[in-house]
């Protein structure tokens, strides 16, 4: 086939990009070469629209061993232990084929982690669907959950936390973000930078098939009516093979045979080989006739673009081939020497004894286009003034019940019952808490992790929204007694070629950066997913933050369930009663306008420090952060989990109880305090000069407030627990 501009455009390249390629090469590329350029230059692999802004992120910190730019980020948790973690999107494939899309998303992120020498110890996910009324939502949700479970359960890594939301902006583009944490000895980390000449390049894992060809390009484009035709671009997962690959790689990593290792993810063999060579400033020669293929007569073009799963590329020390092969034979995996490192600084492909492609590596990596796309700032919406009359007809207990059963608040047990969250025997906080917690096997340490996003806030004002999610993640970790250490982010946005969407991206990144800098909560890894758009309708900006924290003695972990009758319940942090953009405003006042709650980073840090101090001194016995749905929602969850009620004090000076109970002001926690430690608690609260309210006392079997609320735990459970199950059973 002759390569023309039209062919290039079919490969997702822009007209100007094609002429740039011809200019750089000083000739027209052949089809295989064009395919390689298209794979490396698409948005998904090149970050061409985002790179300029990502550079500004706060990525350094005392505990950061590896920041962005590798397969995953790494943090030091003491005693030579390090945690490798990253979050990644698999949005486009999951909308086309929910089971396989989600499954391979989980598989891909786990490979990113064990590529670095770490054993995966926990999975999390953040999944977002269209309106519950939309005809596709139910099946997409069922497929995604089964896919995530099908893959993670089989590998035997617990899924310890997650987030699920519904919003009509995801009707045509669901989001599936998967995160994995792995444990590694910090002296035994493996990187993707090749080094040394004439070193054997090894292919291991599954055979290469025709699945997933153009997957990365597909993920770099918007959808139209013909998305069904894109099914063949979705990869098919085989968790069993991944489990074998995991064990085989870790076995080989026990000694020093590996120089560099890279999983074949997006853009498969193309991207993995070029990245390794590029990082090592080397050339690479691959003999594609040696690549183990699943199907007959595969062409170089297909071999280079296939996104078949469960494959790795390794640069090995010379002479270690037999030793390595023995391990992969033991695990019944393919092993083939397919090339070597060279000093040509080119990628050279041989097939049937003929050279079929030759491209200087810097053209593919460093010379990839970078765009400074135009973007538009979002103005802070004006704060709404709610008329007192609007609240008149509302009864507090009815409001609470309605909010508890809201699709974004209600219990998600239907989902996480389908994920194995206890395998590996170290899960000490299961899904459903503020964060999932796993012990660091054989130590007193535990690692907490949480995934968060707030698309409504980010849509209303991206800068505030960006800050808010970082704070939310921070609070969720502190709420389980963990010291927040670092984050990974998955930046899900619409079409960057539109000024509004690009502006949302730029300002969310700015917000994330500002908050992570202030809180010393650096970004160590992440991924960008643009073009979440169907027929011109984009998603709300949805950056997802995956936060990781450390509990040095897991006996100090906190949970949110109320523990003991008679204990005092305090709200730490000030409630101004911000209702704009709240669930309450949406559900009960049908009001979608207004700014998100203000983020005050000083308060966030100071109050976080206060709560951590209280928990380290064992002065609080349960803790929950106040977020969506405000104080009453948070307290209800503590009642439900602890099967204990609360008597709320008649709070003095309350001007508007709806604002107080349902406002979504930031930087607040609810804590349970045994009376014996109260004096010390007050001293600490005074020392940090934080505002607190004496909310009430753990009491009886109902939530009670004056004559306004008297709801039994069963009534709370009825409202909170069954929405999703009923919805899925329909």
């Amino acid at each position: 086939m002759e390569v023309t501009e039209a062919v290039a455009i079919d490969h997702g390249l822009k007209k100007e990009e094609f002429s740039k390629i011809c200019e750089l090469l000083k000739r027209t590329p052949n089809l295989t070469e064009l395919a390689i350029f298209s794979a490396m230059w698409n948005e998904h692999c090149s970050y061409k629209s985002s790179r300029k802004h990502l550079k500004k992120m706060h990525t350094k910190g005392k505990q950061v061993i590896q920041g962005p730019g590798e397969n995953a980020g790494i943090i030091d948790i003491g005693d030579d232990d390090a945690i490798v973690f990253k979050i990644e999107s698999h949005n486009h494939p999951s909308f086309i084929e929910p089971y396989q899309g989600a499954a391979t998303g989980v598989g891909g992120i786990m490979r990113d982690v064990f590529t670095m020498g770490a054993r995966p110890i926990a999975n999390l996910n953040s999944i977002h669907f269209g309106s519950p009324q939309h005809k596709k939502t139910r099946n997409l949700l069922r497929g995604v959950v089964k896919g995530i479970g099908g893959y993670g359960n089989c590998i035997g890594v617990p899924t310890i936390a997650g987030q699920t939301t519904f919003d009509e902006s995801y009707n045509g583009n669901i989001l599936v973000n998967a995160m994995t944490l792995g444990l590694v000895n910090k002296n035994k980390i493996f990187y993707s930078k090749a080094a040394g000449l004439d070193k054997p390049v090894i292919y291991v894992g599954s055979k290469t098939g025709r699945d997933g060809i153009h997957g990365a390009s597909m993920a770099s484009a918007t959808f139209d009516d013909k998305i069904e035709e894109k099914k063949p671009t979705v990869q098919v997962g085989d968790p069993f093979t991944e489990k074998l690959l995991l064990e085989a790689c870790l076995e080989l990593m026990a000694d020093k045979s590996i120089i560099a290792i890279q999983d074949m993810g997006a853009a498969g063999l193309t991207s993995s080989s070029i990245e390794m060579a590029s990082k090592g400033n080397l050339g690479i020669e691959l003999n594609l006739s040696e690549v183990p293929c699943r199907e007959e007569k595969m062409t170089p073009y297909e071999i280079m673009l296939s996104e078949s799963q469960e494959r790795m590329l390794i640069v090995l020390e010379k002479g270690k081939e037999d030793h390595a092969k023995k391990i992969f034979d033991k695990w019944n995996l393919d092993f083939a020497v397919i090339g070597k490192t060279t000093n040509s600084k080119k990628i050279e492909l041989i097939f049937d004894n003929k050279k079929v492609a030759e491209i200087p590596i810097d053209l593919l990596a460093e010379n990839a286009p970078i765009y400074d796309r135009p973007w538009k700032k979002t103005k802070l919406p004006q704060k709404l003034k709610f008329d007192k009359d609007e609240f008149k007809s509302l009864k507090l207990s009815d409001c609470l019940k309605k909010i508890l059963s809201n699709s974004n608040i209600s219990d998600k047990k239907w989902i996480w019952d389908q994920y194995d969250h206890t395998v590996m025997g170290d899960t000490i906080q299961k899904p459903g808490g503020d964060a999932g917690v796993v012990r660091v096997h054989g130590t007193t340490k535990a690692v907490a992790a949480s995934v968060d996003s707030s698309a409504l806030y980010c849509f209303s004002h991206p800068l505030t929204g960006g800050k808010q999610i970082v704070c939310e993640s921070y609070r969720n970790l502190i709420s389980v007694g963990a010291k927040p250490i670092a984050i990974t982010n998955c930046l899900n946005f619409g079409n960057p070629e539109k000024e509004k969407n690009m502006g949302e991206f730029v300002e969310c990144v700015e917000g994330i950066t500002e908050a992570s800098k202030y809180l010393d909560f650096p970004v160590v890894s992440g991924n960008v997913s643009f073009y979440n758009e169907t027929k011109d309708k984009g998603i709300k900006p949805t950056p997802t933050i995956g936060g990781v924290g450390l509990i040095s003695d897991y006996q100090q972990m906190l949970t949110m369930d109320f523990k003991t009758e008679g204990n005092l319940v305090y709200v730490i942090g000030k409630t101004d009663g911000h209702l704009d953009q709240s669930i309450f405003a949406r559900e009960l006042l049908n009001e979608k306008k207004g700014p998100p709650p203000t983020v005050n980073l000083f308060n966030e840090k100071n109050i976080g420090d206060t709560v951590l101090d209280l928990s380290r001194k064992n002065l609080i016995v349960s803790c929950h952060d106040v977020s969506l749905g405000g104080i009453l929602t948070a307290v209800s969850k503590m009642c439900i989990k602890g099967k204990k009620g609360i008597k709320i004090n008649s709070l003095k000076g309350l001007t508007n109880k709806y604002e107080y109970f349902f406002g979504e002001d930031q930087a607040r926690y609810i804590v349970e305090i045994p009376e014996a430690g109260l004096k010390k608690v007050k001293e600490i609260l005074n020392k940090y000069s934080v505002h607190f309210d004496e909310l009430g006392t753990v009491n009886g079997q109902s939530i009670a407030y004056k004559d306004d609320i008297n709801l039994s735990i069963e009534e709370l459970v009825d409202a909170h627990k069954y929405w999703l199950k009923k919805y899925m059973d329909n």
Binding site: F240, H421, G425, Y554
Partner: protein
């Protein structure tokens, strides 16, 4: 007491089982599926997971693996063989235990705490166990036990039903049955009661920070009965 845990490709509860056994004082070793023989043992454990990917039928390929002949010989000579979850599925595929494990009634994977009633204590696993109801944990997609009427009658007549799903107070009915298993069966014995297969995972319930501690009672009891 010496124990051996068999690792099949795709096993994923092998480490958890190893940790649990050692915690309570078993001298445990791990055995690879391609090995010809098993070291001298008093208990052989087939752990949970997805042996050989559970492609074809759960446990079916493992039941034809190289090591399995030694397991069958060991069982037939009266040795204790315990299969948990996928291990239970493998035991039914080898024929050491009757019946089969079908997909869960509601077609979903279930990971959850459950209560099980100990139905028989005239055996080396549950003899003198202090509790009649244990809180354990399940995590499976194919745990819906089924067998023919004749097989069921024989299981009942010979007291081969080991544990059944129940409520906290021991009630057995449809609502306390998580996966649709016939007669709420969660685990069964062979006729000599030296082979036990069960879906719940005692190894995930061995300290108070986990989902519960009743798994400890199970392991300690096996040791106590061995002495």
């Amino acid at each position: 007491m010496r124990s051996s845990v068999i690792i099949f490709p795709g096993s994923n509860c092998d480490r958890d089982m190893d940790v649990a056994l050692k915690k309570f004082g078993f001298k445990n070793q791990m055995v690879w599926h391609n090995d010809q023989s098993i070291p001298k043992s008093d208990l052989i454990v087939l752990p949970g997971g997805f042996s050989y990917g559970d492609y074809l039928r759960c446990g079916s390929i493992a039941s034809k693996s190289k090591i399995i002949k030694s397991v069958i010989d060991f069982a037939n000579s009266g040795g204790l063989v315990l299969g948990i979850c996928n291990g239970f599925q493998i035991l039914t595929e080898t024929g050491l235990l009757n019946g089969i494990l079908q997909q869960n009634k509601f077609l979903n994977f279930i990971c959850s705490n459950v209560f099980v009633k100990v139905k028989d204590k005239q055996n080396k696993y549950f003899k003198d166990l202090k509790k009649d109801v244990l809180e354990l944990h399940i995590a499976h997609n194919e745990g819906n036990y089924f067998c023919s009427n004749d097989e069921l009658k024989s299981l009942e007549d010979n007291n081969q039903i080991a544990v059944t799903y129940c409520g906290e107070d021991g009630t057995e009915n449809e609502t306390t049955n998580p996966n649709g298993a016939i007669k709420n069966i969660a685990g069964i014995f062979n006729s000599d009661k030296n082979v036990l297969g069960m879906m719940p995972h005692p190894e995930r319930m061995i300290d108070k920070y986990l989902s519960g501690e009743d798994g400890s009672l199970f392991f300690k009891n096996i040791l106590d009965n061995f002495k």
